[in-house]
């Protein structure tokens, strides 16, 4: 979120070198401009997850729902074994990573690649950015449950 705020500020400060001073002042006051409007398109991607609560037993409804998401949006790059295809296999991922870290890799990868050393290391290894697969936070939470299930949790 920090990154996004910075971008928005920078843009509103330096809006349109070609508009009049009055217009520039209006823009600085935060009136909508085409630039802001174009950037502020709603996208589910990009809000930082700060904490999530895990509980046992696993929510099997979430596991089932996440299986469908996995097949369409994750399977192409992540196997359920420890085999790396495009990205790392998911076996033991919940033991290697904090759930919040995984959530942010799924839903907020721009921030992670900017700030997180582990995420940056992975990009160097895989050379393909973890894509935005248009997965909501709720869906990402279900995927965590699916990964825990894959790692043998009950």
């Amino acid at each position: 979120m920090k990154l996004k705020l910075l971008i928005t500020c920078a843009l509103s400060l330096s809006l349109f070198s070609c508009t009049s001073r009055q217009e520039a002042e209006e823009a600085a006051k935060g009136s909508p401009s085409p630039v802001d409007a174009a950037i502020e398109q709603p996208e589910e991607h990009g809000t930082e997850v700060k904490e999530i609560v895990l509980s046992n037993p696993l929510n099997m409804e979430w596991v089932e729902a996440a299986k469908i998401i996995y097949d369409t949006k994750c399977l192409s790059c992540h196997k359920l074994t420890d085999e790396k295809v495009v990205g790392p296999g998911w076996k033991d991922v919940t033991k290697r990573r904090q759930p919040v870290w995984i959530m942010n890799m799924i839903t907020n990868v721009d921030m992670m690649l900017e700030e997180d050393e582990e995420a940056q290391k992975l990009l160097e290894q895989c050379l393909v950015r973890m894509p935005n697969q248009n997965i909501s936070q709720d869906e990402a939470r279900q995927l965590i449950e699916f990964m825990r299930h894959n790692d043998g949790e009950k």
Partner: protein
């Protein structure tokens, strides 16, 4: 003097042209059009592509080209008109028509103001209207116009986009069922007719259908505009060739001192339709729609059209005399004035809507033309702009009481006061302007700021590229009293009419991806698990997925010579701006460019035995060059088993990703 130098010469005669083009630029021009790297333009400029058959999208004030939207012409870059899904969009009653001549843009309006939903564009040659979504910037619908030839006075809209208009430029022997069409060309006066069609637009979906069609005298219907405000129930058309010539129109259609502006009361038409006064005629026309959910188009042939005959049904239309072969026919933002631009006239007549209504009420007619009442010129005239320039074509408005008219022959834009009918400013254009555009110019609330000239002749404006040059547009600042030239920018195809709309009305709604969950394509593959190859007789269907950076399957065997192979490629990406391409060696059609979440199909008919490469044509990732595979083609009748896989190699023994 040859034709091309004529405009230059005339500009010079007028004494308003600078000695060389660069003199026309004022000091702050660069600053006014500079949009810094990473910044966005203030307006979208949606521009007709003329003989390219497409529509192009530019940013203003920078003049940067963003996109060419395929509409009436095939486009191998994206597979438009080549992919199995999009071929039906180019179907017509004449069969597959993969080209047209697109002339005029009409952006949808609500209460006469831009609403940012759709752009409409006409196909002039094989009469059609297309609707483009401003959410996807894709053509969603194309409707053919029956009983029409040369759909030029189109697709202009009524104030609330109730209707798009289609009027025949060329009258001809109408070809409805049972009509005698095999007639001598010189029997024009007897056998040739024109029509104007009102194409209803669904407020929610934008879907079009031909509500009714007016049967009209055999003359040429050139351009048109819907009324607004007080004149909202009316539509106005310029008409020429009231001489009804069928040859050498250059001379023979320029005989009369005055032709017509036709005023149509479309509300009255609706009443007659409701009252069952219309007559159904048998015709044949195509209606093609593209679905964002199935990512596929369907083409339907429709076989009848409802017609109204103004000779029998009174009070529908009136003719107003207008000097000398009028071209542009433009309504000012208040809806009170209609400007006719006689191509050969030395004045610009401005008609008053109030006076038109009064003259109709008073039956102040000078006679009839083919059964249609002709109003008296003096009775409907607000006034004439005297000696404005040579060859007036089109007029746009700034919403501040001024009109801006393009002059082809004298190659200039002339600004004039609508109430006072006086010229207040003029600027040269380079060269021979046709249409012009002010952002929101044809709406009740013009956004003003700029006027753009779309020129017919380019000559020396850019580095030469042989005999065929780019097309030329110019941007002028109209925020002050005097118009100021800011920028030249090249365009694709000959630009005819264009509209410009504030980015704020369009950009926030621009779609980023197609949600894979909503993909209802008949051959979608939503998971690599479902990727497969299916044989149905001699048809092979490949259910394929693409993801950075591999296809599943990427090895296919068991295709035989004589098979037709359909690659149905689903892009599983859900990230903005990550399309994948698909190409196969020897494909006789095109490639595919598949947006995130979309499915597209390429038909491939192998012509030889061997192993052919497939690959992704859109650089998608660092491993894009690895995004490739092979299709093996065996001889006809061979017993090579049908097999497919990705990641299955004898050496590495990696587990197969498919099965």
């Amino acid at each position: 003097m040859n034709y091309a130098t004529l405009p230059l010469f005339l500009v010079a005669l007028h004494g308003c042209a600078p000695k060389n083009p660069t003199q026309a630029i004022t000091g702050d021009a660069a600053e006014k059009v500079y949009v810094a790297p990473g910044k966005h333009d203030e307006f979208y400029n949606i521009v007709s592509g003329g003989f390219s058959g497409q529509v192009t999208v530019y940013g203003l004030p920078s003049g940067r080209l963003f996109r060419q939207i395929p509409v009436f012409s095939q486009n191998p870059e994206s597979g438009w008109g080549y992919s199995e899904e999009t071929k039906p969009m180019l179907m017509t009653s004449h069969g597959f028509a993969p080209w047209d001549d697109s002339h005029h843009i009409a952006l949808s309006t609500t209460n006469g103001e831009h609403d940012g939903k759709w752009a409409f564009v006409n196909g002039n040659n094989t009469p059609r209207i297309a609707r483009i979504s401003l959410k996807t910037f894709r053509t969603e619908e194309i409707i053919e116009i029956p009983n029409a030839s040369g759909n030029h006075s189109s697709p202009f809209l009524t104030e609330n986009s109730e209707y798009a208009i289609a009027g025949t430029r060329f009258s001809f022997p109408l070809d409805y069922t049972g009509a005698n069409t095999d007639v001598a060309i010189n029997s024009y006066k007897e056998n040739f007719k024109g029509t104007v069609s009102f194409v209803a637009i669904n407020k929610e979906t934008g879907n079009m259908n031909i509500a009714f069609q007016l049967l009209l005298p055999g003359i040429n219907f050139d351009l048109s505009r819907g009324g607004r405000g007080p004149s909202r129930d009316w539509f106005f058309f310029s008409c020429y060739n009231t001489e009804q010539a069928n040859t050498l129109l250059e001379v023979n259609a320029s005989q009369k001192d005055k032709d017509f502006i036709m005023a149509v009361n479309w509300k009255k038409c609706e009443e007659y339709v409701k009252a069952g006064k219309g007559k159904m005629l048998g015709v044949k026309y195509a209606h093609n729609t593209y679905s964002e959910e199935t990512h596929s188009a369907t083409s339907t042939i429709i076989k009848e059209v409802l017609t109204l005959d103004p000779k029998e049904l009174k009070d529908l239309i009136y003719f107003m005399p207008c000097p000398k072969s009028p071209h542009g026919c433009d309504v000012d933002p208040t809806g009170k004035y209609i400007v006719g631009s006689g191509k050969l006239a030395a004045i610009i007549p401005v008609f008053s809507f109030d006076k038109i209504i009064k003259a109709i009420g008073d039956k102040n007619f000078e006679g009839e033309y083919d059964g249609i009442p002709v109003l008296k010129y003096d009775a409907v005239l607000h006034g004439e702009v005297k000696k404005p320039g040579l060859g007036p074509l089109h007029t746009e408005f700034d919403g501040k009481g001024f009109a801006y008219t393009s002059f082809f022959v004298s190659s200039e834009i002339v600004k004039w006061d609508i109430e006072k009918l006086t010229v207040v400013d003029r600027v040269p254009t380079y060269y021979s302007i046709g249409h012009l555009c002010i952002p929101g110019g044809p709406t009740v609330k013009p956004h003003g700021k700029y006027v753009i000239a779309y020129n017919k002749i380019t000559k020396d404006r850019y580095l030469p590229t042989g005999p065929e040059l780019t097309q030329s547009a110019q941007l002028y600042d109209i925020s002050g009293e005097k118009m100021k030239l800011l920028l030249d920018f090249p365009t694709i195809g000959e630009p005819h009419y264009a509209e410009a709309i504030p980015a704020t009305l369009v950009a926030p709604n621009s779609l980023k991806i197609f949600k894979i969950e909503n993909n209802k394509h008949a051959y979608v593959t939503k998971s690599e698990k479902d990727a497969r190859v299916v044989r149905e007789g001699n048809k092979i269907h490949v259910y394929m997925t693409s993801m950075r950076s591999h296809f599943v399957p990427d090895n296919i065997e068991g295709i035989r010579l004589g098979d037709e192979v359909y690659f149905h490629v689903t892009n599983l990406e859900q990230d903005w701006d990550v399309p994948h391409g698909f190409a196969v060696k020897g494909a006789g059609n095109a490639e595919l460019l598949i947006m995130p979440g979309e499915t597209a199909t390429l038909k491939w008919v192998p012509d030889r035995v061997g192993v052919q490469a497939i690959y992704c044509t859109d650089f998608c990732s660092a491993l894009h060059q690895e995004m490739q595979g092979y299709a093996r083609v065996s001889p006809a009748g061979s017993s090579t088993p049908l097999k497919w896989s990705t990641g299955e190699t004898p050496e590495a023994g990696l587990p197969a990703a498919s099965k």
